[in-house]
Symmetry: C2
Subunit: 394 residues, 2 copies
């Protein structure tokens, strides 16, 4: 089920070809999602710098702390491993990166995703420009564009992720009742879904995600009742009440890949206003689905949805664009946004999640994960979308 | 229990004073842990850029997406809120930041933690240099140094965090038995500890952490049996067996603050080699505790511990330095490392966690969170450290 070595090789070869085309001797990638994409090597970034180096011949080298040396050496796709004892240490770790670059013939014209390791978790260090004497050419846009087109194997992993997100969501809906708290419900649902996933897939399962390390998850992120009008509320321990509008979220990391499933639910019989906003929200999402086909632009999809906001006088309830790409990161580009003219192409995977947010009433948003095909889109998530299915007993 | 508005004001005033001293008109801070530190405003970074602006007069402005507008406006400590509709949008969001800077009189000489919003989650945009025509002066080192000295209120929050981490760890130890899986045990312990914490603290509880959003957590991160020799292994669904050496981790986010508790446990009667390595590990940690007093350097502490590795021929088992500061981030500087000559000062909070890693046997590491006092250190974590207490029945 995981990505084959052959596919990793092919990804690296595409990068190397880009480097040769740009006259670059190699590239340094610090972003751990890029490192995972090209090598399958998963790590959590800290103050200890790490990077993948790919040279113009397509050879790969990992720059890691001593702590990760064996982990890096175990990766058959990496030909060179340069480690340093520790950060900060008596000699700056970036000196080991300089030696690796030298060893791999990466000098003079260098690509990079960013100019040095970011100053996170207390790390302080030189930029690549300071280290090598040359400002790197940014290659992040190329990498992002490459990652945006998913292979069949990637789509299969995202589909697998959606399946376990679906289970977690079924359980979340089953256990959510007025009087229960979001924390007990979401933990119970997530734990049961995770244990089922682990037993079903078996010991070969790997999450390989820095975002969702705990397995399948479904929850509310505080989007309950009146709070649901704040799209990215941070989770609190809220008690469910009759009349609450709930916005959920569910997913599962599967060999580094993610899906997104979100649903709007209501506890008890919905009010007329809730019914109306719910119906508009579903229509907004349908409008987006209809607009998605290869050759259309991302901006066209957002524009079609905005036309619906216009036609129905819903702008007071608008807060964000239609959606974003998803894969190794739970947010990726391109974006279904008026400002993004990228053409939809087969293999692109998006969340589709236009929302309505009414102060004092709540938020209304479904999110589905879909893949662009030769004809239109396929759904990777498949949870019921209608109000009746999403109305909970008190 | 949370940080008072007065303390936030005082933190900002210290930053403003630094800016005035450097002849800067203001500073832009993109790092969300810095934003939380100066304003209590918690958010999870995505492709939608956000920043805190503090000008030389100490006024504060938040640059946020439309999505976070109400959240930012609800923060009484922020005088200016500039929002943009969406990323990427037809006008680049960074134009709104430029207007906020202008409005707050931040121009010509500007400080920043980094040169622009990082290219994460698909964000692409101009550097601050490109936006303002002036390269910013980096102020991250000042911010890091300021954050390193914890106030009494911060120490109280870290102590509170340690209490709930302790509960989660007690339950983790209680439920860990051969035949059980790490996932079922860690989820059960974490859920019960979290529900107890939420009920004990009550509805005012806020996690405000981007690292540990789910509450109190205790688990293994895959550090089980032979895997325990890989310090930062990612979690898998391993079944516990007699003879396994386990390295745990526990903590809880409390209004943005974190603690760290780690213990080495063994299932069944430890072997002679396990006993020996365990005893050395405890002695290494004691050596570090003894070396920690105000005025000593961070490097002195690591050197004292390294002398123990030397004296007992343990270098084959070394993988990392003694520890790191902790607070809003779970890793912060300064570091208890030979390369860090920062003087220990009252109010600094560190993890102390020298380890021994023996291939084929396992890893041995306790981590305690301690605060430097006028005389030496106080323990914020307080879990038993001796082998007998950490030996589990089969």
């Amino acid at each position: 089920m995981r990505i084959t070595d052959r596919e990793y090789d092919s990804r690296c070869e595409q990068l190397a070809e880009h480097l040769r085309g740009r006259g670059l001797t190699g590239a340094v990638l610090f972003d751990n999602s890029y490192v995972l994409y090209y090598t399958g090597f998963a790590f959590i970034p800290t103050e200890r710098p790490a990077a993948l180096v790919v040279n113009a011949a397509g050879d790969r080298g990992m720059f890691v702390p001593r702590l990760e040396r064996e982990h890096a050496q175990a990766n058959a796709l990496v030909q060179h491993v340069a480690d340093y004892p520790e950060y900060p240490s008596e000699h700056h770790p970036m000196e080991a990166l300089a030696r690796l670059l030298d060893q791999m013939g990466v000098r003079d014209s260098i690509g990079a995703d960013q100019d040095g390791y970011p100053w996170i978790f207390g790390f302080r260090g030189p930029t690549l420009t300071e280290l090598t004497g040359t400002a790197p050419e940014r290659v992040a846009a190329f990498v992002e564009d490459q990652m945006a087109i998913k292979s069949d194997a990637e789509i299969a992993l995202i589909r697998e992720s959606a399946k376990w997100g679906n289970l977690a969501h079924v359980l979340l809906q089953r256990y959510t009742r007025s009087g229960a708290t979001e924390t007990e419900v979401s933990r119970r649902a997530s734990t049961e879904a995770t244990l089922a996933m682990l037993d079903a897939i078996g010991p070969l399962y790997r999450a390989q995600s820095m975002f969702f390390q705990n397995g399948a998850e479904a929850g509310y992120r505080g989007q309950i009742g009146r709070n649901a009008a704040i799209p990215h509320a941070l989770a609190n321990n809220i008690v469910f009440q009759e009349g609450d509008i709930l916005v959920t979220g569910a997913g599962a990391p599967v060999w580094g890949y993610n899906s997104e499933l979100e649903r709007t639910m209501v506890i008890g019989q919905p009010s007329a206003q809730q019914r109306e906003l719910f119906a508009h929200m579903v229509a907004l999402q349908d409008t987006a689905f209809d607009a998605m086909k290869p050759g259309a632009r991302c901006s066209d999809v957002d524009r079609a949805v905005r036309a619906y906001y216009d036609a129905h006088g819903l702008w007071d309830y608008w807060k964000h664009h239609v959606g974003h790409a998803i894969g190794i990161r739970y947010h990726e580009g391109p974006f279904l946004d008026v400002g993004d003219d990228t053409e939809l192409a087969p293999g692109m995977v998006f969340t589709v999640e236009p929302g309505l947010y009414a102060a004092g009433v709540g938020g209304f948003r479904h999110s589905d994960t879909v893949v662009v095909t030769d004809e239109g889109i396929d759904f990777l998530t498949y949870y019921p979308r209608d109000l009746e299915s999403l109305t909970l007993p008190v």
